[in-house]
């Protein structure tokens, strides 16, 4: 049995920040990461981040990942286990993991769940054809491994991910034939939309996928226009060729482990689906289990990092590791989280978080 003060499940932006904060407060931390290296989805983010300096604004995602990884490797309180998938969480607090093809048990005194999210899918005819990829997969292929996902793409989803990935595709030398979205308005920031429109890519709203075509791989797609009630408009179908149909229709939190130990959950569409209820300190209905990042509700990487810091500090504090600056740090992180979610852009998230509040 491996013993530790704090187990952090997931080495993405939220998990890395949680580990750093808990370790700096004096707790011994183990980070369990199922991939071969830390970083999560940050390593494929080539765009510069928004927010303030404290959240690494104007730095690119993969550079932020490098900064956090360096801090972790220099921290004596943190052990990183890669190729380690947490497969079970038990009521007595035990975690079971598969590490380098071996089954092991872990007994932490507190746990931060930072498992992230998985991509949502869309129902349409032939949606299982090869060449129909999630936006994250497209980013992984082209931004991490330098492989083009196709020669011409139709992007489904005009939220921030759809818009940013469309731009990244063009940077990689791939033609984007159109960005479509079923909603009547572009969901993402207009600064991203204008950028790709200037490069000649049409953004078609009130449009959805009817059928993908192809035998062994996708070769094209029939799209259809929607009316104000989201119903298909008769005879409005049109065809676009593509060898990659990219699906960017949102994410669902990965919450399986928290279901296993009966943590109180809530269905919150604004946060991507079922999420654990948590208080301001990112503490769940199991007092020794904290949550951070997309697993607590889908937002973006900047807020995931702030949530990670809040969860890490509080996990340490829960175990009695408190330093003179714990409370001032926490006050600062709460303020940062509020500012990231402020204004009309954060309205949906604020409403969602209210529904996920632990009484």
């Amino acid at each position: 049995m491996i013993k530790t003060d704090v187990a952090v499940i997931g080495g993405g932006p939220a998990g890395m920040c949680a580990a750093i904060e808990a370790a700096n407060a004096g707790a011994k931390v183990i980070v369990f990461e199922r991939n071969l290296s830390l970083g999560g989805q940050l390593v494929k983010q080539t765009h510069m981040f928004f927010g303030s300096q404290k959240q690494y604004a104007s730095k690119r995602g993969f550079d932020i990942s490098k900064i956090l990884r360096d801090q972790i490797s220099q921290n004596k309180n943190i052990t990183v286990m890669t190729n380690a998938t947490v497969i079970g969480m038990y009521e007595d607090g035990v975690l079971t993991i598969e590490h380098d093809n071996k089954y092991k048990k872990v007994l932490p005194r507190a746990t931060v769940v930072a498992t992230g999210a998985s991509e949502k899918f869309l129902p349409f005819n032939n949606n299982d054809l090869p060449g129909i990829y999630g936006a994250g997969a497209v980013q992984t292929l082209m931004n991490v491994y330098g492989v083009k996902p196709g020669d011409q793409v139709v992007m489904v989803g005009a939220g921030n991910i759809g818009l940013i990935v469309s731009y990244q595709l063009m940077q990689a030398g791939v033609k984007v034939n159109a960005v479509i979205d079923a909603a009547p308005r572009i969901g993402g920031y207009l600064v991203h939309a204008s950028k790709i429109r200037r490069m000649g890519v049409p953004i078609l709203t009130s449009t959805t996928v009817k059928t993908a075509h192809g035998t062994e791989c996708v070769e094209g797609v029939t799209l259809v226009k929607l009316d104000e009630n989201w119903k298909e408009i008769p005879d409005s179908e049109f065809y676009l060729p593509c060898d990659n149909l990219c699906i960017a229709v949102g994410l669902s939190p990965l919450t399986e482990l928290m279901w296993q130990i009966g943590i109180e959950m809530a269905y919150v569409p604004q946060l991507g689906g079922y999420v654990p209820k948590s208080n301001k300190n990112m503490q769940t209905s199991r007092p020794e289990v904290f949550v951070a990042g997309d697993a607590s509700g889908v937002e973006e990487a900047s807020s995931a990092m702030v949530e990670g810091r809040i969860a890490g500090l509080n996990a340490a504090k829960f175990l009695g590791f408190k330093t003179t600056d714990t409370d001032s740090k926490l006050a600062d992180y709460f303020e940062q989280a509020d500012s990231l979610r402020s204004g009309p852009v954060g309205e949906k998230i604020r409403a969602g978080l209210k529904l996920a509040e632990l009484d």
């Binding site: 199922r34 991939n35 071969l36 989805q41 080539t46 690119r60 998985s118 991509e119 899918f121 299982d128 054809l129 090869p130 060449g131 129909i132 990829y133 999630g134 994250g136 997969a137 992984t140 292929l141 082209m142 931004n143 491994y145 330098g146 492989v147 083009k148 996902p149 940077q171 990689a172 030398g173 035998t215 062994e216 791989c217």
Partner: protein
Amino acid sequence: MRIEKHPILTFEKGETVTFTYNGTVYSGFKGEPIASALHANGVRTLGHTHDKHRPRGLYCAIGNCSSCLATVNGKPNVRICVEPLTKGMVVTQQNGRGVLKND
């Protein structure tokens, strides 16, 4: 399908190695996922379903969705979107459920 020039990124590439896929020899970079090496060689159909024999490719590329299962060096149901490529690997398309050999 490799990106030749990129305005922001440079790609760290491992040593070039050869491997086989359904008996055909391909080359890729050591350490990259098998599916990425196959994709770079234009191979995008990675299997067929056991019931309706519909073609399958990768979907998530991060080991979540299990759409890319293949047999690698005799071991079935390997998620080749996250399995690192090594020299001389024998990869075969898996049609339907994999078979685990008794040894």
